[in-house]
Symmetry: C2
């Protein structure tokens, strides 16, 4: 199944570090599960909406359709975001990083809510900075008012 | 060494899904290497600067110092970003997502350049959307002019 997916899209080789960092060949690095992390931000607010994973098939579907596709690790299958809820993510920009082991999607989020818990962004809780942890005190998160 | 690091910071249990998603206990999920992915954005521009990894020690150091610390997978050690270059990342916000398996740092990037290749952001190349991949054509990246 994995090799079937790889036939969908031709990637560049990863044997030349300079080409990976400076070239224009798309050579994503997949981990031992065939996955690469992707961060998704909102085109309007610049806010991080979610962090997820793609396999080769999800990358190909995202490029071809202009709608975000991920690989669901819990369901172990292709995940067309919004296919059941109608809350599709329309891709405005899709990027790869220097060593091509991470991807970035900029999207218009249909319906405005990205997170399954009901928030605009999955990142609705802050971790306070500047605490002294030496006394073994637990870290308490701070939730956004929405 | 891993257990030594865990003593630095007390995390909440991950046995209650509702508490993980709605509660104020910080219960990060580490993978089998003891790592959690983190995306770092620029406080000024909202742009994604980089995607990296943290272990428990990197999280604790980031909270205590207010400067971004990661775990370098290539060096297999704590990575205080900017320790050699002076290009520290001052943390303006630190967040966890709904299922607490991903983190988000908002930073002021000292020196303005985040990427070791010399760019403002590691994500200096776009992946064009809307191509038909059925003919097996390779995907060509588009590089930013900086």
């Amino acid at each position: 199944m994995y090799f079937e997916e790889l036939r969908v899209i031709n990637f560049a080789d990863r044997d030349d570090k300079k080409a990976i960092e400076h070239g224009l060949g798309f050579a994503p690095k997949f981990d031992d599960r065939g996955l690469i992390p992707v961060v998704t931000t909102c085109a309007k607010t610049g806010r991080v909406l979610m962090q997820a994973w793609m396999n080769a098939e999800a990358i190909a579907k995202t490029i071809e359709t202009g709608q975000a596709h991920y690989f669901s690790r819990s369901r172990q299958s292709l995940w067309h975001k919004g296919a059941t809820s109608g809350e599709f993510q329309l891709v405005r920009d899709f990027r790869t990083d220097c060593d091509q082991d991470s991807l970035w999607l900029v999207v218009d989020q249909k319906g405005g809510k990205c997170c399954h818990v009901g928030h605009t962004s999955c990142f609705y809780r802050s971790i306070p900075i500047g605490q002294n942890l030496a006394d073994g005190q637990a870290v308490k998160l701070v939730s956004d008012e929405e």
